[in-house]
């Protein structure tokens, strides 16, 4: 119970700090958003008018409070560019980014964990050296460039997947999956490599622990030791990494959506920066951050499930 309360407090504190940070970066740094929207040629009168319209003439702390209360009520402000509520603009785009991220995460876990175990088992042999070079390569490849390569090979050359665009899930399940598969894979490859490396190192570290020697002396076989003893212990640090990877996946999707011309949150973010649509940018960044904080919170709770030592 205490654990939950503590984590909940820290969860809320993190949200508070992040929201404050985002707000202040957008609001106390020099330059008036109204000026930015209207361009340098606009006269003072126009700027003043727009500022009033946008509520920019209120004191800073009130604006923050209004913003936060608004968000809590689902009111994310009004987009300068689209002239409609931000929530409205986001509605159609969230499912796209969400599908992308979820499929990328699934790929990461489903491919990364078995491969990590496999490589740990073959440690020291040449095959494992080569595999570890490949994971290095995976980590070092920019996901958007990998996206291009995937398009060139699988979409253009073999025509297995569409080159760009999103087909809604409601229209055709198979086609929808096809349309997000390549971008998800492009994001996942680097993360798969990270999971493999972490899990491998974590398994090898655990193998040196005394309790593994105990298990050997008990007369257990290599597989029993791996699956009954080592793996659970080795997965603990990987869990933390999965939290970080969730953040990375969402970050990666911002760029990848532009490569595959997917109308998700990421491509919206880039166009709103170009048009200096501050309410939209501010809310978008907050929403993405909130998802990640929530993911980290979930990881914390999972820890509690897996590790009996956590009672704090």
């Amino acid at each position: 119970m205490r654990f939950l309360v503590k984590k909940l407090v820290s969860f809320i504190a993190t949200i508070f700090i992040v929201s404050l940070l985002i707000f202040f970066i957008f609001n106390i740094l020099p330059g008036s958003p109204a000026q930015a929207i209207l361009g340098v040629d606009a006269d003072e009168q126009q700027v003043k008018l727009l500022e009033e319209e946008l509520g920019l003439n209120e004191p800073l702390h009130l604006r923050y409070i209004h913003w936060i209360i608004g968000i809590a009520q689902g009111d994310l402000g009004v987009s300068y560019k689209y002239g409609q509520p931000v929530a409205e603009v986001l509605k159609d785009r969230i499912p796209i980014s969400f599908s992308l991220a979820v499929i990328a995460l699934i790929l990461t876990v489903v491919i990364g964990i078995p491969l990590g175990i496999l490589i740990a088992k073959t440690d020291g042999k040449w095959s494992s050296i080569i595999l570890s070079m490949i994971t290095q390569l995976g980590i070092s490849t920019p996901s958007f460039w990998l996206g291009f390569i995937l398009i060139m090979v699988f979409a253009v050359k073999f025509g297995l997947f569409p080159t760009y665009g999103f087909i809604p899930w409601s229209e055709n399940l198979g086609e929808a999956l096809k349309s997000v598969f390549l971008p998800s894979l492009a994001i996942a490859v680097g993360n798969i490599a990270i999971v493999i490396r972490y899990l491998k190192n974590s398994i090898l570290d655990q193998t040196k622990e005394d309790y593994v020697r105990t298990a050997i002396v008990k007369g257990l076989g290599a597989n029993e030791i791996m699956y009954n003893h080592v793996l659970r212990n080795a997965l603990l640090p990987v869990l933390t990494v999965l939290g970080l990877i969730t953040a990375d996946t969402l970050g990666g999707s911002i760029i990848i959506e532009n490569v595959f011309a997917l109308p998700g949150l990421g491509s919206l973010l880039v166009t709103s920066i170009e048009s200096r649509d501050f309410p939209l940018i501010q809310s978008l960044i907050l929403i993405i951050s909130l998802i990640i904080i929530l993911a980290n919170f979930t990881v914390d709770l999972l820890y509690k499930v897996i590790d009996p030592r956590i009672r704090v």
């Binding site: 119970m1 205490r2 309360v5 704090v312």
Partner: protein, 269 residues
């Protein structure tokens, strides 16, 4: 009657305990409570106890490494309990400590010469040349020579490192040295040589030792007085010589009876 060189009065150290339940009142854990003792000049004063007894806490409090919660530590007639070490150069010089782990008590990146010169630089003692002379002198005193000046800690064995740690405590010519499990990590033969060294140095420099240990054999051999601590309390204090004549507290008896004796007779009894 000799004046005590160190007198500890009602020494107490508490830590804030982690709250067990939400909205519970903050409770405090006593690391040590109401400890009283006097150490006479030239004495080897032993403090023994099992893990968690607070024996090391006492050492750290005397050295000013941890802050005293309550009570007094009187050194040469002055209460030093609340003094910060940085400000009180004289006390720094006069009270030194040797730690248990010879592997972590020397900075791995620095040469022996650097480590031994550092205290002299901090206290602005001597010139460059005279410092080097002093360092060599101390090295020889602990049974090592000039050839060790340029070595790094990883080139030395556990026993040699412990000698360097003693040298670095010695170089400021202190009156009191606290030895916090200083021989516990060593093999018996090396332990013997370090104990001999400590006794020689004591004789030569008129040192006073506060000797913290869990090893009862070592304490019985080395110390003039023994203080037994258990769960933060000082259970008993006695002269080592009189150990076999006196009546002792229950815990003391239990503790000392638990020592496995190296004579065959005790086994059959």
């Amino acid at each position: 009657m000799l004046e005590p060189i160190i007198e500890v009065k009602n020494l107490t150290k508490t830590y804030k305990a982690a709250q067990k339940k939400f909205r519970q009142k903050t409770s405090y854990i006593h690391a040590v409570k109401n400890i009283n003792f006097q150490v006479l000049p030239g004495e080897s004063f032993g403090i023994v106890g099992e893990s968690g007894s607070g024996k090391s806490t006492i050492a750290h409090l005397i050295m000013g490494i941890n802050k005293v919660t309550e009570g007094e530590i009187i050194f040469r007639g002055r209460n030093i309990a609340q003094l910060s070490r940085g400000g009180e150069r004289e006390i720094c010089r006069n009270l030194q400590i040797v730690f248990q782990d010879p592997y972590s008590s020397l900075n791995p990146k620095k040469s022996i010469e650097w480590t031994l010169t550092e205290p002299l630089i901090i206290h602005s003692i001597g010139t460059k040349a005279s410092r080097k002379e002093k360092v060599i002198e101390v090295l020889e005193e602990v049974g090592l020579g000039e050839s060790y000046l340029k070595k790094k800690p990883h080139e030395l064995s556990g026993g040699q490192r412990q000698r360097i740690a003693i040298a670095s405590a010695l170089i400021l010519e202190p009156e009191v040295i606290v030895i916090d499990e200083g021989v516990s990590a060593l093999d018996v033969s090396i332990q013997a040589s370090i104990l001999n060294l400590l006794n020689e140095l004591k004789e030569k420099h008129k040192l006073t030792y506060i000797f913290i240990s869990h090893d009862l054999n070592v304490v019985q051999y080395f110390c003039d007085k023994i203080a037994v601590v258990y769960l933060g309390d000082l259970i008993e204090l006695f002269q080592t010589e009189e150990f076999h004549q006196e009546e002792h507290a229950e815990y003391t008896k239990k503790l000392f009876n638990a020592i496995p004796d190296v004579s065959f007779t005790s086994r059959t009894s």
